[in-house]
């Protein structure tokens, strides 16, 4: 286990192992996303209140959930980099941030689109919405800081520090839901109660969530590989692999 960890921690074995993993991951992603999409759009029943617009849920909820997970993953990569100084953790952090930011943006966009028919407004200053917005800012902060100097280890550590410090915010933002509603009763919308869904709606959602996770990991590993090539293009093994 420990040796595997170490092996994955250095660029070359990672590159080789992921080389075999990637096609499988890609196939699974395609399968899950297409099955989920067809199921969700074609077969899942419309909501008796919201009608067809409920189908946005199949993009909105997975993207929102995976966006949060990707922050978590990114921060863990940051911690690993700070503690063990494994270079690949820095790359992992750097590559996770844009994906996470895009997913967050997708969640925001789909939420807004969904909000218009259901609430009559694109945006309300509800706790969950706002905390998603904050999550987006956290990602942006990480991206901006990391892009300050490409490939520099110092900037990498700075970014990792920020990502880890920002982690503190995740639970706090979650708790703010409570503070928020005790303060401002005026908000008439609540996302905190789960709509009781029938299984026919719930199951395709699970497939989509799984598909989004797979998608995240696929893109993530793919861009980590690209970044490895970019940083190590002069080294022996890269030349070797790409000449063969």
């Amino acid at each position: 286990m420990w040796s595997l960890f170490h092996k994955l921690g250095s660029p070359r074995p990672f590159y080789e192992i992921s080389d075999r993993l990637l096609p499988i991951l890609g196939c699974l992603t395609v399968i899950f996303l297409s099955v989920g999409t067809i199921w969700a759009l074609g077969f899942a029943p419309p909501d008796y209140q919201q009608g067809e617009s409920v189908r946005i849920m199949y993009v909105h909820v997975p993207s929102a959930i995976v966006a949060q997970s990707s922050y978590m993953i990114m921060a863990i990569a940051g911690a690993v980099f700070l503690i063990w100084r494994i270079k690949i953790a820095d790359i992992a952090l750097q590559c996770a941030a844009p994906i996470g930011a895009s997913l967050t943006l997708l969640a925001l966009a789909t939420g807004a689109i969904w909000g218009k028919p259901t609430w009559g407004a694109w945006w309300v200053w509800d706790a969950r919405l706002t905390s998603t917005l904050i999550l987006f800012f956290l990602f942006i902060g990480v991206i901006v800081l990391r892009s300050a100097k490409e490939g520099s280890e110092a900037v990498g550590r700075a970014t990792a520090t920020l990502a880890v410090v920002g982690l503190v915010n995740l639970p706090v933002i979650k708790f703010s839901v409570d503070w928020w509603f005790t303060l401002h009763q005026s908000s008439s919308f609540s996302l905190t109660e789960k709509p009781s869904m029938p299984v026919e709606m719930w199951l395709p959602l699970v497939v989509m969530v799984a598909g989004f996770y797979l998608f995240f990991f696929y893109v993530w590993i793919f861009s980590v590989r690209t970044e490895i090539l970019k940083r190590e293009y002069r080294s022996q093994w890269v030349r070797f692999i790409h000449d063969v």
Binding site: W123, V124, F137, V144
Partner: protein
């Protein structure tokens, strides 16, 4: 002048943060308010014009701080002053580049916030129009402050104190214009005044800025 614009834009793009930051900052200030004030639609839409304007103002102020600073510190400003190219033209170029990455971006983003603050369509259009006319003025006036405070090493806060009073007429006009638009009144008069202020400051502010630069350098 075109060369100056090109160079300054290049420098801004070299640190993408120069472009992203004012935007993100604008977004952040605005999004702080619902936290501070509460999410009630009625209050938010009531203060929306004010908040958007104050945010635009502060954003301009804080990006303007760096406008001449780096050129001053590394000695490039001396080179510019001594060069054959007219300093006034360089100032126009720098102001324009600064506005492109600051004021213009803010203007383009404003409709989004109008929506988030439940402003109606007329109000949103008026906000964008008002910002389009006012942000160049803000950049122009701000550049005077930036030039005057160059050698003093006192940063953005001193500039604010110098320049904010100059901004007040624009702020008041702009907010009045948006408020008229929201309730459906005519606002041609406001547009006229904002445009007039813009024309006047385009003519005169760079002269003052040029003077300010020369003063700061002969220190």
């Amino acid at each position: 002048m075109l060369e100056t614009i090109r160079r300054d834009l290049l420098l801004h793009f070299r640190k993408p943060a120069d472009i992203l930051n004012p935007l993100a900052f604008f977004v952040l200030i605005i999004s702080l308010f619902p936290f501070g004030v509460g999410p009630s639609a009625s209050i938010l839409s009531e203060i929306s014009a004010g908040v958007i304007w104050v945010a635009a103002l502060l954003t301009t102020l804080f990006s303007i701080d760096m406008m001449f600073k780096s050129d001053y510190e590394d000695g490039t400003l001396e080179q510019i002053v001594l060069g054959k190219e007219s300093l006034l033209l360089v100032v126009y170029g720098k102001v324009f580049a600064q506005w492109l990455v600051g004021g213009l971006m803010i203007t383009l983003m404003s409709p989004l916030f109008g929506m988030m603050f439940y402003v109606n369509n007329d109000g949103i259009f008026a906000t964008a129009l008002a910002l389009m006319l006012a942000t160049p003025t803000m950049t122009l006036l701000g550049s005077i402050g930036a030039a005057l405070t160059l050698g003093l090493n006192k940063g953005g806060v001193l500039i604010s104190i110098l320049v904010l009073p100059l901004y007040l007429p624009v702020l008041i006009l702009g907010v009045a214009m948006i408020d008229s638009a929201i309730v459906g009144d005519d606002y041609v008069g406001h547009v006229f005044w904002l445009a007039a202020i813009l024309v006047v400051s385009t003519g005169f502010a760079p002269l003052a800025t040029e003077l300010g630069i020369r003063i700061s350098l002969s220190e």
